[in-house]
């Protein structure tokens, strides 16, 4: 096992990894920008290093400063959390060159799966269904138009190097396709320094269902079941749930198998997630793989009893996965609401500032992952998530009751949050029934 791990992230996920290190008896070092100086979670680390000013480019995204922090604190390994450098192949390579273990997949595996076009090829080769679309990056607009005619509109344009909705555009006809291709290329170039895009048929009545994977360095690959992440607004997940409601056991088992197969095919190690779109009729299509820890991992932890971050660290240190697929027992239903410092009444505009009162819910079936507290100042520079609220129940109805109760108890004053929005959303029949798709939030917001 490592003796010291550097956590190259901030806020909630930095604390999440800190806790895993503490639980494993591993020392931890956290980096921070001056905007995060004084945050309470820094006190829980064995050491902390100020790496730069608030802008992420000069701190949490600055590879040189993070590697320098790792060097001066003599760590064995770096945990990237999610976001920032978690999917930067360049960063992983530098870690590898510096003889620091990157807690995640190898750089070559990340490069393969990080390129959406290549990942699509790998999936296709393994007979895992992909959406009808271009074989690779689109060479010319005419090629795209011709293909779109074959597979039918609407068409979704995605950045090959993309993720998080950036460089993503939807076209409903030829004219919009030509316009959107140009826009998507320039967005992709700006975001990823790579303007290649590809197109796929757009399924808009589908669910977003993803499978959690864990793999060690010795050939063992397991899945920890799936999560429904259809409750999204502008490609940002808001509520996640496991097991996915309205997905048949056949589909569940097929996508789990496909995810394991894909991870095995590329020699994946660590924690990863394979995303699928699932149709109303149970047909599924591979979308992409996220080669990192996901925000929503706690719901899987709650039902599986497996601590994903601990296992991620353990396998990175060369340990064998202590779980066998067939012996895993999943228990009940878990739901997560991402509580953001945003004002739902004002277009979800972010609402940074001082939290004057923070009373988290508790008791049975409730887990709260948060780095904030009464008196914490939400900085305006980063992600607006202030807490993850996870509710558990033996079945979906009781899990929802627990979520309702916890949302009711949760008190945050000083900044606006999405708590009132969730209180309303979970009462909506379309949500409560479990019969929703990726367009639910748009429809819900339209109907409010």
């Amino acid at each position: 096992m490592f003796s010291r791990v550097l956590i190259a992230n901030r806020g909630e996920v930095a604390l999440r990894v800190l806790r895993a290190c503490a639980d494993l008896g591993v020392e931890s070092v956290v980096v921070y920008s001056t905007a995060d100086a004084g945050a309470k979670y820094l006190e829980f680390a064995d050491d902390s290093v100020c790496i730069g000013p608030p802008p992420a480019a000069e701190s949490y995204l600055n590879v040189a400063r993070i590697i320098a922090a790792a060097e001066i604190t003599n760590v064995d390994a770096i945990h990237p959390g999610y976001g920032f450098l978690a999917e930067s192949t360049e960063f992983v390579e530098i870690c590898e060159d510096s003889n620091i273990v990157f807690i995640g997949p190898r750089s070559d595996v990340m490069r393969k799966m990080g390129n959406k076009v290549e990942a699509r090829h790998i999936a296709k080769d393994r007979k895992i269904p992909v959406l009808p679309g271009s074989e690779g990056a689109i060479e010319s607009d005419d090629e795209a138009v011709k293909l779109a005619q074959e597979i039918g509109y609407p068409i979704i344009i995605k950045a090959a190097a993309g993720g998080g909705g950036r460089g993503m555009r939807i076209a409903h006809n030829e004219i919009s396709l030509r316009n959107m291709l140009a826009l998507a290329r320039s967005e992709a170039e700006k975001a990823f320094k790579d303007d290649s895009v590809y197109i796929e048929k757009m399924l808009d009545k589908a669910r977003h269902v993803e499978v959690q994977i864990l793999a060690d360095n010795r050939g063992s690959v397991i899945h920890l079941g799936e999560r429904d992440c259809s409750i999204q607004r502008r490609y940002q997940k808001l509520i996640e749930e496991t097991p996915a409601p309205g997905v048949s056991d056949d589909t569940r088992s097929a996508i789990s198998k496909a995810a394991v197969q894909l991870a095995r095919a590329v020699g994946y190690t660590g924690a990863g997630t394979v995303e699928f779109l699932v149709n109303g009729d149970g047909r599924y299509y591979f979308m992409e793989m996220n080669t990192r820890l996901q925000v929503e991992h706690p719901i899987t932890e709650v039902v599986s009893g497996v601590d994903i971050v601990k296992e991620q660290i353990k396998v990175a240190a060369g340990e064998k996965l202590p779980y066998h697929q067939k012996k895993l027992a999943f228990r009940g239903v878990a739901i997560e609401c991402r509580v953001n410092a945003e004002n739902p009444a004002d277009g979800f505009r972010s609402s940074p500032g001082r939290i004057t009162e923070f009373i988290p819910p508790g008791g049975p079936g409730v887990r709260v992952d948060t780095h904030v507290y009464s008196g914490y100042e939400v900085p305006p520079f980063y992600d607006s998530m202030v807490a993850k609220l996870i509710a558990y129940g033996p079945n979906r109805t009781e899990a929802l009751n627990t979520m309702r109760r916890a949302l009711q108890e949760f008190t945050i004053s000083g900044v606006k949050t999405t708590i009132p929005f969730y209180r309303d959303l979970i009462e909506h029949r379309g949500y409560a029934s479990g019969n929703f798709d990726i367009r639910f939030v748009d429809e819900f917001l339209g109907s409010v």
């Binding site: 001056t34 290093v49 100020c50 790496i51 400063r65 590697i67 320098a68 060097e71 001066i72």
Partner: protein, 155 residues
């Protein structure tokens, strides 16, 4: 944070910055700290704490803190713009770039900070006389950490 721990940090902060008095008022807590003798008179410690409504804080002795800075007013700080390892001289055994008493100009190289095997020469960025070097050779530095204190030149 525990009140005692809070006081500890305040005392450490005073020591680091050569403060003579410090008063904090929070909704539920008021803390006032004052050095018993002016820090300038007794530069190497001797901090004492007086706390209203609470027990006395422990002195900072025995902690791995930077030594208390001289409480001279108007000293300028030369801070690190990066994370890395601090070196006073260009190579092992060589003369240090600066010592106390050295007069520096903005372009004077004052030290090297090594990060990712690269030696970065740091310039003073100000004019003055170096009065204190706050780090040992080969010590680690954070972003924004004070490396040198300098007295501005009288003009």
């Amino acid at each position: 944070m525990d009140v005692i721990e809070k006081i500890r940090r305040l005392v450490a902060l005073m020591a680091e910055n050569g403060l003579a008095e410090l008063e904090v008022e929070e909704p539920e807590l008021r803390i006032r700290l004052k050095t018993s003798i002016s820090a300038a008179q007794q530069p190497e410690g001797g901090l004492q704490a007086q706390v209203l409504e609470e027990v006395a804080a422990e002195p900072t002795e025995g902690r791995e803190e930077k030594p208390p800075a001289k409480a001279e007013d108007n000293l300028l700080e030369i801070t690190s713009p990066m994370v890395g390892t601090f070196y006073r001289s260009p190579s092992d055994g060589a003369e240090p770039y600066v010592t106390t008493g050295t007069i520096v100009e903005p372009d004077t190289v004052v030290c090297i900070i090594e990060a990712m095997k690269v030696m970065n020469e740091m310039k003073a960025g100000l004019s003055g006389e170096i009065v204190e070097i706050l780090l040992q050779n080969a010590e680690a530095v954070e972003f924004g950490q004070v490396l040198f204190l300098a007295r501005p030149l009288e003009q």
